[in-house]
Symmetry: C2
Subunit: 244 residues, 2 copies
């Protein structure tokens, strides 16, 4: 059974109050970097896996995408996404990412923002993405960084006064489920090594074109000063790849 | 002035007693993985950057390489390397890695084992490697992992009884010199993020074909049980790339 935490009312209420939920893409520390990895969307068909509130789908249309499909398992998320647009060139489908089944070479661009660390079988997803992409098509994704997902606690190591001493890493090579706390809830995440993320993408038939471990920009830091410790360890891993 | 720690007599004496110095490639936890990344060497011209005692050079010749050049800055290392072979198809040159100046397309394979974290300008090295490689030639390298080099202390976080609690990460985005302790000496290393390692290789004109964060094999663990904690955090990063 695929996890569908975003349809838990309490969790969804908490998530809806996060800066990236209320402020959209510009409130996400990594957005400027993610955006720079995206190819030209003009007249392109775009698929967004784990589309959430549909911010990326709407942005793709602002960038003149021809047609956008957003996939998410959460009815709550998709209801909000659907209510946020009346653009007939955006279609939302309620579906687990692992269950996508698109025709071969249907899309020019597949994106996914912070969703794959909830997916158990990354290998299957990469193969399905490759199938759905045209040759030369782009696959741009972000996930929680392996340094961030290694320990289920996902928290700094503090001294007795509560000061952040450093980020702890342990169990790195143990690729399995982690029960992490997120927004006061237990959430199932899947820790994978960097090696696994990159080699799985390569083996599925992609060429890696760019990696990023984003830092918040000066502008983002001024608006969200609580992000200052983000330079002390990477929290996200962004990968851009092109179908061979 | 490029660091030449291996010509410090005390440091060299300590290094010479490490398992990988006395036992060679099979005593290096990552060797089986590194070897699997290497292309066929049969009748190929091979360059080894930071060749040390020449283990990799001699192994390349065992694999029927046509000609091998080993480069190292340390006279101590090269004297030992030269004394370990009378093979006229292996040539050793005393040179800093950054200072190589080979003819275009001179080599089929360039390898480097645990040397580039001592090199300040990785970008220059990647460009020179690309220049020296034939089109389609292979570049296979290992470095200390960014998780391992982030903190200069390069040590576990211990409890009061000396038990290893976890691996600490801090200052990850600060790409600069680290004064690390290695074999009871201060050694200058250069911390780079994963993003920098991979993008620099891509930008120099390579295609990434494989990544590895090796774990010691069962056989290595049986012979060197002190390596058991190596699964708790990655210590090395291995990258295989091909010239575009």
């Amino acid at each position: 059974m695929k996890q569908n935490k975003y349809d838990d009312p309490e969790f969804f209420a908490n998530y809806s109050q996060m800066p990236r939920s209320t402020g959209g893409l510009n409130a996400a520390g990594e957005w400027q970097i993610f955006r720079a990895l995206l190819p030209d969307r003009n007249n392109k068909k775009v698929l967004d896996l784990g589309c959430g509130f549909g911010w990326h789908c709407r942005y793709a249309r602002e960038q003149q995408a021809k047609f956008v499909i957003g996939v998410d398992l959460s009815e709550n998320m998709l209801t909000r996404a659907r209510n946020s647009t009346n653009d007939s060139a955006i279609e939302y489908r309620q579906l687990a990412i692992e269950d996508i089944d698109f025709a071969a070479e249907e899309f020019d661009v597949v994106i996914s923002s912070l969703a794959f660390h909830y997916v158990e079988n990354f290998n299957t997803v990469c193969k399905k993405v490759r199938h759905a992409l045209k040759p030369g098509g782009s696959f741009v994704l972000s996930v929680e960084h392996p340094i961030f997902t290694a320990l289920a606690s996902q928290d700094w190591h503090h001294d007795q006064e509560g000061k952040r001493l450093h980020w702890p890493v342990d169990g790195y090579q143990d690729e399995s489920q982690r029960i992490a706390r997120f927004l006061d809830n237990d959430v199932i995440k899947y820790h994978r090594t960097l090696e696994t993320y990159l080699n799985t993408i390569i083996d599925a038939g992609f060429r890696i074109t760019r990696i990023s471990e984003p830092q918040p920009s000066k502008e983002v830091l001024e608006e969200y000063p609580e992000m200052k410790d983000e330079v002390r360890r990477p929290i996200f891993l962004l990968i851009a790849a092109v179908k061979n």
